[in-house]
Symmetry: C2
Subunit: 212 residues, 2 copies
Amino acid sequence: MLTNKTKAQTKAGKTYQLILDAAAKLFSKQGYHGTSLKEIASNVGMQAGSLYYHFESKEVLMQEVLDKSIQLIYSTVQSEVAKLDKQAGFAELLTAAIHGHLIAILSYSDYTLASIRNYGQIPAAVHKASQFARDDYEQFWRGFIQQAERTGAIREGVDGHLLRLSVFGAMNWASVWFDSKENNAADVEKIAKFQANIFLNGCLPEGEKYGI
Amino acid sequence: MLTNKTKAQTKAGKTYQLILDAAAKLFSKQGYHGTSLKEIASNVGMQAGSLYYHFESKEVLMQEVLDKSIQLIYSTVQSEVAKLDKQAGFAELLTAAIHGHLIAILSYSDYTLASIRNYGQIPAAVHKASQFARDDYEQFWRGFIQQAERTGAIREGVDGHLLRLSVFGAMNWASVWFDSKENNAADVEKIAKFQANIFLNGCLPEGEKYGI
DNA sequence: GTCTATAAGGCGATAGAC
DNA sequence: GTCTATCGCCTTATAGAC
């Protein structure tokens, strides 16, 4: 892994980060195919050809954006979960995980939206580079939800698989409608608390149940 | 509206529909900018230039796909809601609406995924053409959720705005992970019942509440 | 209605000067 | 490290034959 380490040090360069940020911003707004290298270069005050000193191709540039996206999300979630007591139950865990995921995708929306919007419409080889990191993150969610199913922390008959996918949908969709210019960190907190509350307790008045 | 009527009759042509279907399929998988007219034409056994007999531009082709997408969704939802009793309450209405929306987006996923994936990364003029239809559909959801807030069918403190956006996220995200080759209509029914159940009752065991 | 041919321009990527 | 210049290819769209 010496190659990766060397690469990582090189990539810490200032210009490299500026290019990556500009690419993420444009990919998120116009899509991978809708963004030209000329446009990215222009955003950092360069000519298109000069980018090739920092990146070997447009595809690799996208790979880096996808990779950084998942790294940002998972590390933020882990940091939120680490704040919990060791004996924290399922409800606390779910709330912290939702909070972390939303903080990440709404704070670094250039990266996460670039990932969400373009995933599935780029060459398979491009998003395969970040597949392991994605699998790791998914496994974290699978893990604590499966445990909740086993211990009865989740109501009988609730499919943990569909629960995870529904929570992901509600969260990720927020990156589509959330406007970081109009909203702030307090709004992110509000959305996180709302979603945890809804998925745990539902929206019906206390004591009422429907269809179970 | 004579122009539109004439246009609509012309558009009922068989070739027109084949082109529209091929465009939706490719736009959904590769994105608007990642799909060429040559590729669309090839899918219906034509040369790229020949498409211009049926469509005046690639942008108009996309507009038609977006428009058909929202029409399919709203009409399916209305049809599901129409099956309900007139005195049906909020829970029945939400369940029927979720069911209709999921049937539509998972059955016609070429159209709806083309819409979801490309919305926001295409020229503003393109999706403005279907904005009125989208607003109508959104207003339908706003309407019955606001009424539920007023009548107390929704628990005190639950923000109807965030509820609607969360339900939309969970549903629309399903079009990303649902595989219509591996799954069937019974699975769509299962997902719809699950999501209605979760948003109404939550996932905690009966009688348990967290954080309220 | 569909074809072929082509116009006019943008694309990713490379080479060599500085 | 960044520039200019350029290659070869692909794109949307049009014109005219059939």
